[in-house]
Every structure is written in C-alpha cells, then in structure tokens.
C-alpha cells in the first residue's frame, strides 16, 4: 500500500514539474522564434537587394539558416507561394503563422502583416517594410527576454511546489 502511495506521489510530482518546465520552455521558445524572424528578414533583405532574387527564392534560401519552428512555417508558405502565386497566399500566411503557439497575438500580427506586405511593392518599399519589422521585433525580443528572466524560474518552482502540495493534501 505504501509502495503504491510512493509511486503515485512521484508520478504526480513528475507531472506537475513537467508542466512547469514546459511553460518555462515556451517562454524561451518565443524569444528564439522572434530572433530567428529577424535573421530571416535580414537574409531576405540581402537576397532581394544584392542577389536580386524573387520572393519565393529569397524565402527558400533564407529559411535554410533558421533553427526553430519558423523554418517549417516559412517552408509551408513557400510551397503555397509556388502553387498559388505571391498575391494569393494571405490565408496560407495567417494559418501557418498561427501554428506558432509560443508567440503572443501581437507577435503573430507583426509577422503576418510583414509577410503579407512583402512582394507587393518596389524594392525600396520592401526594404523599408523589412527595416520597420526588424525594429519592432527587436523591441519584442527585449520584452520576451525580460519576461523569460522573470517568469521561467517562477513557473518551474510553482510546478514542483504544486506537486508537493497535491501529494501532501491527498496522499
């Protein structure tokens, strides 16, 4: 009987700690995706301005250097771009970016609006769009970093202590 109680206690503690750690990792993931987005935009800018590549090629070349979930999202957008053309992928951009669950709504809105506006004007305007997006995303990264530093330790600790509380109260 006591053996079963110990096993259940350890299981509850592991589950609650895992939930706390997952929430902490999601904060880290947000910062990583935003940093990758800046890398992506800078590389697209280089591809368009210096290599004079078109948008699908620029996206495909730039996404190869990414490390996060953003790489797959951009890949899906490139596939849809080849199928339907640059002008008709607004739904695809919205749907694919919304799969990035670590990002806040505001982050997603900036990424969606930037990706929708690229490919619809001349080179200089697109350059300006990219520069503006980079400035805004850099501020978001700063905020994400502050939230990560403040909250990730809290989530991990709260996860472990909640598990201990449940064990003490019920077992």
């Amino acid at each position: 009987m006591i053996f079963i109680k110990i096993i259940i206690s350890i299981a509850i503690l592991c589950i609650t700690s895992y939930i706390g750690i997952e929430m902490a990792i999601a904060l880290k993931s947000r910062e990583q995706i935003l940093t990758d987005m800046i890398t992506f935009l800078k590389m697209v800018q280089n591809e368009m301005v210096y290599m004079l590549n078109n948008l699908p090629v620029s996206y495909e070349m730039s996404r190869q250097r990414l490390n996060s979930e953003l790489k797959d999202v951009i890949g899906a957008i490139v596939v849809d771009m080849s199928k339907y053309g640059v002008d008709k992928i607004d739904m695809s951009i919205t749907n694919n970016v919304n799969t990035l669950v670590s990002l806040k709504e505001y982050d997603k809105d900036i990424i969606i609006s930037t990706l929708k506006n690229l490919g619809r004007s001349d080179l200089e305007s697109q350059n300006n769009i990219i520069e503006n997006a980079i400035t805004i995303i850099e501020k978001q990264i700063k905020e994400a970093n502050e939230v990560k530093v403040k909250s990730s330790k809290v989530y991990k600790t709260v996860g472990i202590i909640s598990g201990l509380l449940i064990v003490v109260i019920f077992i």
Binding site: V154, T157, V158, I161, L164, L165, V168, I169
Partner: protein, 64 residues
C-alpha cells in the same frame, strides 16, 4: 487525534509559505496573496470536522 493531520497541516503551511515568497519576489503579490488564502481554506477544510467535534464535546460537557 490522528498525528498525520498535524503533519499534513505543517506540510501545507511550509509549502504555501515558500510559494508565497517565490511569487512575492517575482513581483506577483496578488497571486501570492491568493495562494496564501487558498492554503488557509485548504487547512480549514482539513480541520473542519475536528472543530465540529470540539464544539460537540464542549456542548456535551457543559450540557448546553
């Protein structure tokens, strides 16, 4: 009286105090207060039957 109840109450108290400190240090005073209140309610629920027993005993002893 079951000694396990005392250990449970002590355990809940210590863990709630630690959680309170962690949340206060992280700047979440509202959540820290909610945690403390929740801890108090949980402990009260744990001892309510004993309190009821106490009142019944007092009533029987003094024929009230």
């Amino acid at each position: 009286m079951d000694i396990d109840l005392l250990f449970k109450i002590a355990g809940v108290g210590i863990l709630v105090a630690v959680l309170n400190q962690v949340l206060s240090k992280a700047g979440r005073e509202d959540q820290a207060m909610m945690t403390t209140l929740t801890g108090v309610i949980i402990v009260l629920m744990m001892v309510i039957s004993k309190i009821s027993e106490l009142f019944n005993t007092v009533r029987d002893t003094f024929n009230l």
